[in-house]
Assembly symmetry: D2
Homo-oligomer: 474 residues x 4
C-alpha cells in the first residue's frame, strides 16, 4: 500500500469518527427537557394521562404528570408533543445482537464482532427499543461493545448480555452449523469465543463439576445475567441437564446476584426449569408437540415466572402450517400458538421477546438458511421490525393493548430485576422513551409511527442509525 | 415358475424340516441322566466339587453333589465326564438377536426376522450360552421366535426380550441409520416393528402421557421385561427422560411384575436411573468422558444394583486408544476401562453383558459400519465369541475367576429375577449346563473347551448349529 | 415352516400357474382370424381404409384391404370391428423394463429381476404397445425374460434389449444412486449385472481397448442391439468417448449386425454420435442449454437418422418451468421443447420414445426421487400411460396425427431395422395390432380407447395384465 | 476506533512500506556486475564452464564465458563466486500463486488476492525460481500483482498467467469445493473472478460459440497465455471438449499470439490435445488408469510437444500406494510413475511443473483437504520446496542431472516461447540466475544450497521473503 493510499484511508476514518461524534453530541441537551402536551402511557398499566408533562434531567425522569400538576424547571427546553403519545423506551427480553453466524460474516468480520453488535444495537434503538437482553453471543465482543455504548463512544440500545448459553457449543458445532470445509483451528477459535468453557461438554458432567464451571464462567469475565440449556438446541426433545444440575446452575447465578435465563423447548425442560427456580423462561411458548400442561401453567402463573414469549403473526403462522420444513415443524408451531393463547388467558407474566438480530440480505440465498428465510412472511427474528410484528401478533392473539405495552416495558424490566431503573416512565428512572404520532393502544401498527426516541435523556438521531453498515444494506 | 420347479422347492423344504426335527429329537434323552466324574462349579460361588455328580430329569436338576453322596436313579443314563468341568449354562444380560439392522438384510429378510433371531439364538447356544436377554429388537418377531423355541419347534438359546427401548426410534431413524434412499413407507414399516408406540416421540411427552404409553405397550403385546432410555442413543450426553418420567416408567414395569432395564451412557443418566429404581443398568460402565462418581458407585454397591458390564479385552482397548473414530471415542473408552476397574474393586454386582448379535461378514465393507468393524481386534459384539472375550477381558481387568463365572450365571439370573429357575446348578432348577474339558478358573480361554452343552436337560447337537445360515457363513 | 404351511404355499403357486396358462391358452385362436368392418390405419402413412379387412393366420398378416377386395378364408373366425379403428401394435424405441433401481426392490427381488421385467412387458402390452426396445438393463435377466415370453411361457410385449449402456456404471454407482449404507459386495454384485465389463472404466481407455471390450461384450452373451454413451449420465455436459472411440464402438456393433443406439445429452455429444454413424439417437431432443445447431439438424434430416424423441405434454412442460429442481433443469427443458418443434418442422425421422418403466408407488416418497415424482403432472416415464402422453404431447407440439402414428410404429421398426417383420399392418408381417373404438387421428386421447390388442396373431387378455403384481398395485 | 488508534495503525503501515522499499532498493546495483570464479552451468545442456565469468548490466547478461575470455567492464562490481555453481534462474511451468482456495482465506482476503499472489511469488523467488507460469487463477488479481512486480513496487518471481482454465468453474463449484453454507451471491462473486465468462457452461456449447467466448476472453482483459480443459477436473475420465472445439480454442489462442496450455488427465484427453495442436501438455504424465499409448508417446516425442511433468519422489509415491484415498487413486499414481519413466526413456521434451502454491498450515486440519495433506511425505505442491522435490524425483526416476536442469530452465522457456529472454545464461537474456554453493549435477539436494538469487540483474534479499506473511507462518 502506498503512502498516499494510507493517508486517504486515514482521512476516511476521521470522517467516520466525526459523524459518530456528531450523532451523539448534536443531540445532547444541556439541562432539563420537558415534553409537553402528549398523552403519556407510562408502562405501569395505569390509564394514559392526556396532556401530560414529562420532565427529564441528567438522564432521568425528574417529574411526570398532568399539565398544571407538574412544575417545569426554569430554563428547561420545551418539546411540544401535543397530539403525540409518549411511551417508555421498549425492551426486548431476547435478542442476539450477533445473530448472523454464517461462515461468511464470521470470517470476514473476525476481530470486529463488536462492530456488528453495535450495528444491531443501533437498528434496535432506531426502532424505539432502548434496552435489549442479549441471550447468546460472544462474551468478550459483547463486553467491548457494551463498554463503547456505555462510555458514549458509540450510540446504541442499552444492552445486557449472558454470553454463552451454558451447555451449548459455538456457531461451527453440531448445535448450529458444522461444516466439513473449515479448518479445525478456525472452527475452534470461533467456537471458543462463544463457549468460554461452558459448552456442550458440560452435558457429560456431574452437577458438582457443572457448578464449578459455571462459577468460573461468572467470575472469569463479565456477564449481566446467565442462561442455561434445559433442553438441547438441535435436539430439542432431549434434556440437557438433570434437575440437580439445573439447581446448581441457578444457585450459582443467584449467589452471584444474577438473573437466570433458561433455554427450553419441551414440556419437561420447561417444568424442570421452573422447578429449578430459573427466573426467565425463554420461548416458554415453545414446548414441542405437546402443549404446556395445566400444572406447569398454573405454577408459572402462581409464581409470577417471567415468560419470554415469541408471538408470531397470523401471516407467519399460516406459512408454518403449509411449510413443514423440518420434522414436526408445523406441529410445533401449532402447539406454539395454543400455548400463547393459553398463557394470555391464564394471566401469565409475559415479556416481549423476539430472538431477533440482523441477518444480511444474502442469508436468504444461503442454502443452509433458505428454507427459514426465503419468501417467509413476517419473519419474526429480524431486528428491523421484530417488535412491531410482536405487537401485531399480540393483537391477533387477543392480548389487551395495554397488556402488550406492559409486556414490552415493565415486564421485561421486572423479569431481569432492572425495574429500579428501567421499564416505566416514573420519577427517578432512566429517561428512555418513545414519542409516537399515533395511539399504540388503538392499533399495533402505531408503534411504527415514531417521532422521537430518547435514551438516557438524550434524543436519538434515528435517521443516521445504524451509523456504519456491515450487515444492513446501505 | 413351472410345476416341476415348485416340486423341487417343496422337496428341499421337507429336507430342511427333517434336519431340524432330527437335531432336537435325536438328542432328547428318555428318563434321567447322570453326569459323573467331573469337577462341578455350580455358579453359586462355592468351591468347585471334584468328582461330582449331577443328575437331571425332566429338564431339571434333581440332584447335585459329590460322588457317593448323591444317589443315581436306577436306569439313568450315565455320562462319564471324568476330568471335565461342569458349569451352569452361561447367561448374557444384553444381546440383540437381530443386530444386523443394515438395509440389505432388513429388506431381504423382511417377514423372516424370526428366522434371523433363531439363527442367532443357535449361535449363542452352540457356545454354551443357554439363556440370553434381548434388550432391543422387533417385538413380534421376537415373540414368534421365542414361541418356536419354547414349543420345541426350533432349537436355540432360551431368551427373554424387552422389544423396543422406550424412547428410541427404529433402525431407519436418526437413532440408528437414516437413509435418504428408502421410501418413507418402508422406513416407517420397519421402524414400527421396533417402536411399537414407544419411540422417540415420547421424549416430547409429559410423565403422565409416557406412563400411559408404557402401560399400553406392556399390555398390548408380550414382553418379558422392559427397557427405557435414560440417555439418548446417537446423542449420548443428553438425557432422554426427566426423573419423574423415569419413575413413571419404572413403576409401570414393576406394577406389571417386570424387571426394568435402562440404557445409560453418562454419569447423570446412570444416576437418574439408579434413583428411579431401575433394576438392570445396561453398560453401566459407559459414562462418557467422566467416570462414575463416588456417590453413584457407592449407591450401586450398597443397593446391589445389577451392572450389566461391557468388558473389553486389552487388544480391543488398545485399538480404541489409537483409533479415535468418533468424537470423544478414545476418551470414552478410557473412562469405560476406569469404570470397569472401579466397579470390580468396589464389589459391585456385575453381570456379563455383550450387546452381541450376528453381523454378516459383508457388514465390514458397509461404509456406514466399516470404521467399527474393519480390522478391529476382539470385536466385543459378535455372538460367535463375545462371551469368551468377556471372560478374557474380566481376567485382564483383574476380576477373580470365580467372580467372573458367577457374573456370567447367577448374577444374570438374579438381575432379571429368574434365579428360581436359572443361573446355578442346584436342585430344582432348569438343567442348563456346559461341560468343559479344561478348568475355566485356571484360564478364561478354557471356556472355549466345550465338550457338551445341555439345555433343559437335553444335550445340544452343537455341530449343526445354526441349522440354517442366513447371516452366518455356511 | 411346518409341512402343512409348505403345502399351502404350493397350492397357492399352482393356482398362479393355472392363471398364467389360462391367460395365454384361452385366447389362442385355432386357424385364421378376420377382423372386418373397421377403419384400418396401417402405419405406413397411407390414408385410412374404411370398412377394411385384416386377415391373420399363424401369427402373421395374410391379407389386408378393403371389404370385398380381400378374400376371407373359409372357416376363419370373424371378428366384427365395425365402427372401430385398427392400428399396428405400438412400438416404443426406448423403455427400461427394469426401471425401478431403488435399493428396496433391487434387494427384495434379487434373483427375480426377470419377473419384474415380465411385469413391465405386460403393462406395456395391456396398453397396446406390442414391441419395446429396452435400452439399459441387466442383460442376463433380460435374456431370461425374453426367452420366457418368446417361448410362450409368459405373456408380454415383444422386446429387444441392449443390456448396459457402454460407458455407464450400474445402479449403485455415481452414475445413478450411490449409497454409503450398502456393502461393497452387494453394490458390486448388482452393478455387475448391469455393467458386464463395459462400465464407466472404459472412459479411461484407448479406442482399441474399448473396441476389444465391446467385441467381448457382444460375443460373451446375447444382446439385440448395442447402446453407448456419447455423453455422461450424471455429468451430462461432458463427452464420454472421443470420436475415434465412438467410431470403434459403432463399427463393432455393425460388424456384428447390430443396430447402434446412442445416449446423448448435449449438442456436441449428438454431433459426434451422428458423425460416428450411430443409428438411433436417444433423446436427441435433449441437448442441454443449447438447441440443436442448424448443421447438425440438417445432417440428421438429410441422412434420415432416427431421432428417438421424448415428447412431453404441456402440463409437464409448464411444471418444469416452475420447478427448477436441478441445475439448469428448467433451461434444459425449455431447449428440449425448442428442439422438438425444430425436429418436427425440419421433417426429421421421429420415433416414439419414452424412457418409461414401472416405479412402485412408494418411489414418490423416496427422498432421492421425490423431486422428480411427487405431484408432477403427466410424468412421462411411467409405462402405464407413457405412450398415451407421448401422443398427446405430439399433438400439442403440432405434429400431424398421421405422422405421430407412423412415429410410433413404422419409424421405430425402421430405426431398429426390424421393418421386415414389424411396424405396419402389411401382408407377411407379424400380426400385431390394436383395435380402438375411436379414431386416433381425431384425438390423441383415442389411443386410450382400446378394445383389443393382438400380438403375434393372438388376442391378449388385457384385463389380467400384469398377471403378477410386484411393483404395480394389485 | 479512536483517533489515537488510527494513528498507531498508520505508523505500523509506514514501517511496512519502509521495509519493502529497503528490500528492493538496498539490493539494486548501479552499473555492471561480474560474477567470477564459479562453475557456470548455463541451462543449454552444454558442459559446465569452470572458473567462469558472468557479466550483467542493465538487467541482462552482457557477457558469459571462461575467465580470461570475457572482458569485465571497468567499474563493474565484482562478486567472487569461487567454488560456487551458477545456474539460470529456475522456471516452473505450472504453479497456482493463489492455490489456497479454501473458504477461510478466500473470505478473509477478499479484495486482497493480489497480496496473496505476491506472497507466493516471493516464496518462489526465495527458492531460486525466478519465473513461474500460473495456469489457473483469478485473472484481475493476477494482473494487478504482475503489474506491481513489473513496476518494481513489489519484489517477486516474474510470472505469466492464463487466468481461468477454459471450461472450469470457480473455487466454490462442483469443479472444486461446493459448500451448502455459502450464500449464492458470495459463491458467484468469487467464482466469477476465476471464470471470467469461460467457465464450465462452455461444455454445453458448439465449437463456434466456444470460439467466440474464448476470443472475448482473450480480448476483454490481459492474459499471457491460455489454458483449456481437455478433460474434466472432478470428473477426470470425461472429455470436456470435442476435437473441433479444441481446435477452435487452439486457433484462437494462436491467432492472438498466445501459447496454449492443456489440462489433460486421460489417454484420450491427451491424444485429442496433441492433435488439436496445443503447445504445453500439463501433467501429461497423468493419464488415469491406462498409460500413455505408444502412438501418442511417439507423436509427443517426434513433434517436440512440451510435457509439463509432475515428478514425485519415491517417498510420496510409496505413500500413494498404501493410501487409496479416492477411487483409483493408487492405480492412477502407479500409471503416473510408469508414464514418467516412459517419457524420460523416449526422450520427450520435459518441463519442470509442480502445480505448487501456498497452503496455510491449517489446511491440513480442514476435513476437505486432510486426506491429501495430513502426514503426507514430500507433498509435491508446496511452493516452499516443490522444485527441490522435483529434482529429487527426477533423480530417482533416473533422469540425467543435466537433463533435469535443462527441464527446469531452457525447456520451460521454450515451451512458453519465452526463450528469447529467458531460460539460459546467454548474452542478451534477462539476467536471472542462482548461485549454489554445491554442484547440482552431483546431487539434487544441492539445489537447496542457495547462496544468491539474481533476477533481472538485481540480487534478491532472500532472508526477508516473503515480506508480508498472509498464508505462511511468520
Amino acid at each position: 500500500m502506498t503512502r498516499l493510499r494510507v493517508r486517504r484511508r486515514l482521512a476516511a476514518w476521521m470522517a467516520v469518527l466525526a459523524i459518530v461524534a456528531h450523532s451523539a453530541a448534536a443531540l445532547a441537551a444541556d439541562g432539563a427537557v420537558a415534553l409537553v402536551g402528549a398523552t403519556v402511557i407510562d408502562g405501569t398499566g395505569r390509564a394514559p394521562v392526556p396532556n401530560g408533562v414529562v420532565v427529564v434531567d441528567d438522564g432521568r425522569f425528574v417529574a411526570v404528570g398532568r399539565a398544571g400538576e407538574v412544575a417545569i424547571p426554569a430554563g428547561a427546553k420545551i418539546i411540544d408533543a401535543s397530539g403525540d403519545y409518549v411511551i417508555p423506551g421498549l425492551m426486548d427480553a431476547n435478542v442476539h445482537l450477533l445473530l448472523d453466524i454464517e461462515i461468511e460474516p464470521l470470517i470476514k468480520y473476525e476481530g470486529r464482532y463488536g462492530d456488528l453488535i453495535i450495528e444491531a444495537a443501533q437498528v434496535a434503538l432506531r426502532n424505539g427499543v432502548t434496552t435489549v437482553f442479549d441471550t447468546w453471543g460472544p462474551r468478550d465482543a459483547l463486553l467491548r461493545a457494551q463498554t463503547r455504548i456505555g462510555d458514549g463512544e458509540a450510540v446504541g440500545s442499552r444492552f445486557f448480555f449472558a454470553g454463552n448459553i451454558i451447555g451449548f457449543d459455538g456457531p461451527f458445532s453440531g448445535d448450529f452449523f458444522r461444516s466439513s470445509m473449515l479448518s479445525e483451528q478456525f472452527a475452534k477459535r470461533i467456537n471458543d469465543e462463544w463457549e468460554q468453557g461452558v459448552g456442550q461438554d458440560l452435558l457429560w458432567r456431574t452437577p458438582d463439576e457443572v457448578r464449578k464451571r459455571v462459577r468460573d464462567y461468572i467470575h472469569n469475565g463479565h456477564v449481566d445475567f446467565i442462561k442455561y440449556a434445559s433442553s438441547g438446541h438441535t435436539h430439542e426433545q432431549y434434556l440437557a441437564f438433570s434437575p440437580e444440575t439445573q439447581r446448581a446452575i441457578v444457585q450459582e447465578g443467584h449467589k452471584a446476584g444474577l438473573v437466570v435465563d433458561v433455554h427450553s423447548t419441551s414440556v419437561e425442560s420447561l417444568r424442570l426449569a421452573v422447578n429449578a427456580g430459573a427466573d426467565v423462561m425463554q420461548h416458554c411458548d415453545y414446548t414441542g408437540i405437546e402443549p404446556i400442561p395445566a400444572t406447569t401453567l398454573r405454577k408459572i402463573v402462581d409464581e409470577h415466572v417471567a415468560c419470554a414469549a415469541f408471538f408470531v403473526t397470523d401471516a407467519y403462522y399460516q406459512w408454518t402450517q403449509s411449510h413443514d420444513i423440518r420434522e414436526n415443524f408445523s406441529e410445533i408451531e401449532k402447539v406454539h400458538r395454543q400455548n400463547d393463547e393459553a398463557l394470555i388467558k391464564a394471566g401469565a407474566v409475559i415479556a416481549l421477546a423476539t430472538d431477533a438480530g440482523i441477518l444480511r440480505p444474502q442469508a436468504a440465498s444461503n442454502p443452509a438458511l433458505a428454507s427459514m428465510l426465503k419468501g417467509v412472511p413476517d419473519t419474526p427474528t429480524s431486528l428491523s421490525d421484530s417488535e412491531f410484528l410482536w405487537f401485531k401478533a399480540a393483537s391477533e392473539l387477543g392480548m389487551k393493548p395495554m397488556d402488550a405495552l406492559v409486556a414490552a416495558t415493565r415486564n421485561v424490566a421486572r423479569a431481569y430485576k432492572r425495574s429500579k431503573d428501567l421499564g416505566t416512565i416514573e420519577r427517578g428512572k432512566r429517561a428512555d422513551l418513545v414519542v409516537l404520532t399515533a395511539n399504540p393502544l388503538r392499533s399495533p401498527d402505531n408503534y411504527r409511527a415514531i417521532r422521537m426516541v430518547m435514551k438516557d435523556g438524550l434524543l436519538v438521531d434515528r435517521d443516521h442509525l445504524p451509523i456504519r453498515h456491515f450487515l444492513t444494506r446501505p
